[in-house]
């Protein structure tokens, strides 16, 4: 009887482990819309941090969900439907480039927006991926 109980518990544990493993393996990459940002700062400040010390800024921001606020320099929809928003940084040669999933609403140029996204690093622009707009609280 005792041996049977151990077998049942072992089998249940194996089933739970298999389920959790399967779920973890199939989990999709997180979107910013579903999560709270780890930090918030102006777009120009984020860009400046990478310009001044790319390695240090990378340690602080890369891979993290960051919220930035700034004015829209340019917004365009790519052929595949992704929205790209460039935020002003005070430097004409670089921007905070925010990539949105398909279907995001295009903001007007000059509009002040708050965006959260996962920071991938600096490659002439600071890149935020899988972004979402953060509604303004009035």
């Amino acid at each position: 009887m005792k041996r049977r109980s151990f077998l049942v518990i072992g089998l249940l544990a194996a089933l739970v482990a298999a389920f959790l493993g399967y779920r973890a393996w199939n989990e999709t990459v997180p979107e910013a819309a579903d999560h709270k940002p780890e930090m918030a700062l102006p777009a120009g400040e984020l860009f400046l941090a990478f310009q001044q010390d790319e390695a240090a800024a990378g340690r602080s921001y890369n891979g993290k969900l960051i919220q930035v606020q700034g004015a829209v320099r340019e917004a365009r929809t790519e052929e595949d439907g992704r929205l790209i928003v460039l935020l002003e940084t005070g430097d004409a040669m670089g921007a905070v480039l925010c990539e949105f999933p398909i279907g995001a609403k295009v903001p007007g140029a000059g509009t002040s927006v708050t965006i959260k996204g996962y920071c991938a690093g600096y490659n002439f622009d600071v890149l935020l991926q899988r972004c979402a707009f953060v509604p303004e609280h009035r």
């Binding site: 999709t28 480039l97 991938a120 690093g121 490659n123």
Partner: protein, 184 residues
């Protein structure tokens, strides 16, 4: 890791320095990699490759953020960045080289061109020579579309694959480049 910055910076940030040479650039090139594996094929895409091309000299450079490669599955992306590519330590891959069209061919002339590409590929802080063939299409709008495919072996760039999954990951990864340059 040696940076691709010198030429890219010179060309993209200080245009007057090379005003005499026509230069083409892009910050949204697409790099895709594909690996066939017994359990599941692995594919990832990066749509933010920065590159500069000077058709008159054939000079070409790429700079690619490793973290900008996007996978369908979170676990694959996490393992790629943390276990294999160590993107916190080596945040970028670069290529610096020369594109050589057929004798007498002008890459900016409207039409389809084939060219040899030779240079140095730096991934994971390890430089390796790279040779491939590229196809370029120069359009009526002045843009140049370029594409090529090549193979990269993780072991050539000191990318350690744990023994447990070594047999489940292809020995070489197919990399595809697709980029549209516009005149700077």
């Amino acid at each position: 890791m040696p940076s691709a910055r010198p030429l890219l910076l010179t060309l993209m940030l200080w245009p007057a320095v090379v005003a005499a040479q026509d230069k083409y650039g892009s910050r949204n090139g697409t790099i895709t990699f594909f690996s066939s594996a017994p359990l599941e094929d692995i594919t990832a895409v990066n749509r933010n490759a920065a590159s500069v091309l000077i058709p008159s000299t054939g000079a070409i450079e790429f700079s690619v953020l490793i973290r900008a490669f996007e996978f369908e599955k979170a676990l694959m992306q996490e393992h790629f960045n943390e276990n294999y590519m160590e993107s916190a330590k080596w945040p970028k891959a670069t290529f610096k080289g020369r594109i050589v069209p057929n004798a007498g061919d002008d890459l900016t002339k409207q039409g389809v061109h084939s060219a040899e590409v030779d240079g140095t590929l730096n991934i994971h802080g390890v430089e390796r020579p790279l040779h491939t063939t590229a196809q370029l299409i120069s359009g009526p709008d002045g843009r140049i579309k370029a594409g090529c495919t090549f193979e990269v072996k993780p072991e050539d760039h000191a990318i350690a694959i744990p023994g447990v999954v070594r047999d489940k990951i292809a020995k070489s990864i197919q990399v595809t480049v697709d980029i549209t340059y516009r005149k700077l």
